[in-house]
């Protein structure tokens, strides 16, 4: 059997969930390709990538047309046929992200920027790389419960996740039809990651989330990676968002 190839977009540090998935895929024999957004973080991503033995790093800033173009050309030039694409880009960690603001303080340019980075980039990546996807390949993106609830001062991020979830279903429809490609999302509960760190009070948020769950624990990167690999491998699922949150979202309070 041919070796499988996975492109993981959004690895930043060794704590990135993309990294945990990359490890599992690598362990199962896949070649891992990854991206870094710009030169300021290159060294950091490179050292994480090297520790895992990533095959190649491509520059990709979701805000830049030319990066998308070059990424697509590079993948073509290398002759890489992708079996899976993991998308873990978050607007919260890009330079200049407009966080901690009510919606009424968000300008159109900022809104469009957030939607492109966190959501529409999935359309751009899968569209531009389509020729380099295997028939029956699998795409996975990361969302969260904020798509369905309002979080004071972080409602911009709710809109981006709402966009992403709808894009997942839309791509599942169009890419399934054209190339039997499956597109799914994972919606994890709160766990320590770079975007959550930007929100502030991370430890308190994690503690409160833990106490809301029936299991009194937070989801771990290993739990998420295990589900991710299971979804990527499964040929009977597409267009679906899977919640993994230790039961947090089902609990209401009187």
């Amino acid at each position: 059997m041919n070796e499988k190839n996975a492109l993981i977009v959004g690895i930043k540090t060794e704590k990135s969930v993309g990294m945990a998935i990359a490890q599992k895929l690598k362990g199962a024999g896949s070649n891992i390709y990854a991206t870094y957004p710009d030169e300021t973080v290159y060294e950091g991503v490179k050292s994480v990538a090297d520790s895992l033995g990533i095959k190649k790093l491509f520059k990709y800033d979701a805000r830049k047309d030319e990066d998308l173009e070059q990424l697509a050309q590079a993948i073509k030039a290398e002759g890489i046929l992708l079996d899976c694409l993991v998308h873990d880009l978050s607007y919260g960690t890009v330079p200049g992200a407009k966080l901690n603001q009510p919606l009424l303080n968000v300008g159109w340019d900022e809104f469009a920027d957030a939607i492109r980075v966190e959501a529409f980039s999935l359309v751009e990546l899968s569209g531009k790389l389509l020729d380099n996807f295997q028939e029956g390949a699998s795409i996975l993106a990361f969302t969260n419960h904020w798509s369905k609830i309002a979080i004071p001062n972080f409602n911009l991020l709710g809109s981006t996740k709402a966009a992403l979830e709808s894009i997942i279903r839309g791509l599942a429809e169009s890419l399934g039809k054209s190339k039997k490609i499956k597109v799914n999302g994972i919606s994890p509960g709160y766990f320590y990651n770079d975007s959550l760190a930007r929100v502030g009070d991370t430890l308190e948020i994690l503690e409160r989330a833990k106490n809301r769950t029936p299991l009194k624990r937070n989801v771990t990167r290993a739990d998420i990676a295990s589900l991710a690999v299971s979804i990527l491998d499964n040929n009977s699922i597409t267009g679906t968002i899977y919640t993994i949150d230790c039961g947090e979202e089902i609990i209401g309070n009187l």
Binding site: R169, L227, D233, N234, T243, I244, D245
Partner: protein, 257 residues
């Protein structure tokens, strides 16, 4: 490490979804403790369980306390504790009737067999202290709980009761580190499904509705069920495995090509 044990209720024959789940559990080292509905079903159940190295099968009908106690007594005698309980039971005597024609007696009976049995059996197993911490309970539901599917009739509301029970039990059993989830497969031609009017049309419709133009395989359903059961962060969740047929809305073309 001692082998893990799974009580699997609901295998009718090799086409059963619970058979697909039991196969994956067995493959991953679980000891399978299956039940069968009655003597008539037994040879078809054995066809599945013989492949899973099963020695003892237990007769079980919802509401039969003696039968449940016999399972519990057996587990106790062998010093076995459960790591998984798979609930795949559904029945509706008036499934062929439209919802507005259904009698209360039939609805009530179906609610007990297809939904509340999850509470009853789980409760008895907990009373008997038969679950290991970290155990997983899994049941089977269908998208007919959330949208009215033609032909699914009374099972829609009954499955929605079941889904609410999944959330309720998950919230109550978390402190014992027992997780409760459901898999929601697209239509699969099982013995139970054969009772649903127009089921072959439903299968074809789901296949046409899927962007992948197929329906879920027992193996894929079983694999997702296994992931849900062993993943310590999945709780109170309803996981579809339906080839996208419930999240996409195809529009068949009527225009001539």
């Amino acid at each position: 490490m001692p082998p893990k044990n799974a009580l699997v209720i609901g295998i009718a024959n090799k086409h059963s979804i619970t058979a697909g789940i039991a196969q994956q559990l067995y493959k991953n080292g679980y000891n399978i403790i299956p039940t069968y509905l009655n003597e008539k079903a037994l040879p078809y159940v054995k066809e599945v369980t013989d492949e899973l190295n099963v020695e003892t099968l237990f007769p079980f009908t919802v509401g039969n306390e003696e039968q449940l106690q016999a399972i519990i007594a057996h587990l106790r005698e062998k010093g076995m504790h459960l790591d998984a309980f798979v609930h795949g039971i559904a029945f509706a005597s008036e499934i062929k009737k439209q919802l507005h024609e259904v009698s209360w007696a039939s609805f009530k009976e179906s609610t007990r067999i297809s939904a509340f049995s999850l509470v009853e059996i789980t409760g008895k197993l907990i009373q008997a202290d038969l679950f290991n911490p970290g155990s997983s309970i899994l049941t089977l539901t269908y998208i007919g709980s959330r949208v009215a599917v033609e032909g699914y009739n009374m099972m829609g509301p009954v499955k929605n009761i079941l889904e609410a029970l999944v959330r309720g039990l998950a919230s109550e059993l978390g402190d014992q580190r027992i997780r409760v989830n459901a898999i929601s497969p697209g239509p699969v031609m099982t013995r139970a499904a054969s009772g649903i009017g127009g089921f072959s049309d439903l299968l074809l419709t789901a296949q046409a509705a899927s962007p992948l133009k197929r329906t879920a395989t027992l193996e894929d359903i079983g694999k997702m069920a296994y992931e849900v059961m062993v993943n310590p962060a999945i709780d109170g969740a309803i996981f579809p495995v339906d080839c996208g047929s419930s999240t996409t809305f195809p529009v068949p073309s009527t225009e001539k090509q």
